[in-house]
Amino acid sequence: MISSIFSRFGYGGVCNLPAESHSTALSCNNLYHRYPGNQADVLQNVSLEVQPGERVALVGPNGAGKSTLLKLILGIEKLERGNIVVYGHPATQCLHRVAIVPQRSTVDWNFPVTVRQVVMMGRFVHLGWFKRPGKIDHEAVDSAMETMEITNLADRQVGELSGGQQQRVMLARTLAHDADLMLLDEPLNHVDIKTQELIFHTLEKITVQDKKAVIVSTHDLGVLTVHFSRAIFLDKKIIADGTPKDVLTPDTIAKAYGFEFHKDYQPWNS
């Protein structure tokens, strides 16, 4: 059928790769990446494992390769060296299990779509070409909108919303996707405190209750100790990896950001 020809990209194909029990959510081995035309690698020998239930912050300065790493996991950037395994299977074969909240700048916010339509996009990976959303899909969308407290905005245009509301819509979309590994690329930029708390509350719930794995890229050091179970400092290579308290030392910060941090000031101890 035509739909199977179109689906060879993975879109809408049935995911018949069940998670192997107790398998690692994400395993990256010896990743290298270089953008065409560049002289240096943006990722150098990056290896990491994330277990189900972990809430990982990916921290580093601009240009450290945080987005690149997330894009490689999703197959948005082509993997050149190394390998990535998601729940026991090659990453690009497990599209149903991974979802992303992309950086704000990659989305065309002016495109005329309603909040409900955007959240429904999270279900399309299960539908594929030519199939219309059914009852299960509508229920998933309703419940995701309720969780993110945007039910009252359902029929509004996304372009009319505030930055915080838009971010909630994107998170609702990944909830509707029902992925087991969620990647959030700088979700805290331009977001109000209330939305930030709602995002963290939701992430905590899905990692603790549903044992999903979450990776959040951020350059906001202040949120690490409170909201994450683990922090990975990245600046082309992995500089530090561990609980936020262990990792968040003046030394690692200096290494990652290339400046001397004020050593007497330790906000997490005050």
């Binding site: 179109f6 879109y11 948005i76 599209l95 990659t106 065309d108 070409w129």
Partner: protein
Amino acid sequence: MEFIIEPLQYGFILRGLIGGLFTAAACATLSAFVVWRGMSFMGDALAHSVLPGIVVAYILGISLLWGALGAASFVVIGIGLISSKGNLREDTAIGVVFTGFFALGILMLSRVATFSDLSHILFGNILGVSTQDLIMMAVVTVIVIAGTFLSFKEIVTASFDPAHSTAIGLSPALVRYIVLIMLALTTVVAIQTVGVVLVLALLVTPGASASLVSRRLPSIIGLSLLLAGLATIIGFYVSFYIDLSSGPSIVLALTAEFLICILIRKIKLKNVKKPI
């Protein structure tokens, strides 16, 4: 009543009107995407650069539509190849390919055709629609409407958020080519009614007008269909009774609708209470 029916008693006039309405339907269906995906330059380029194909078809004595279709495929692939290598932006690639093809077309045309042929190709000749053209227009219109309906959620997803689209395995490039193929088909049949120079009006203006009045994609498309159909009918009768060229008449009707939509929007905004 007689005023409306009288012209339609002649076969070629009836064919012209039906052909015009088919074209309007195909253009209007895509218009919302041309406007919101920012593809108007591409549409304009396609329309102009099919000229050499039309001339070749003219020399070979086959339907001009086939020639136009062949040239359109070359142009789409050419632009895709030049810009996908990453060295040049797409609008640059469009600019280079489009002007080159159009210039080639003009030179070829000046060798083989008369001035009246040239003006028909540049500005359209709705009354020259043959039965064969009409069949092709109908086929294209059905393809475009069915294609848009069937891949609606894919086009919307890839347009709104290409990263998400890639992540769920829906290639934005594939979606782009689907839209481009439909755009090329539409442009090719629209040349017959409004001509190379004015095709862009049918592709952009209905969607732009509708977007002033509504922000929902399905109603934008519905309204575009209505506006394009109406403008085609108005332009058609004006050109029949006042003996004006059909292409520009249709385009001016579209422009008038656009101005009315601006007015409606102004009135609407005035009546909406500002949120506190």
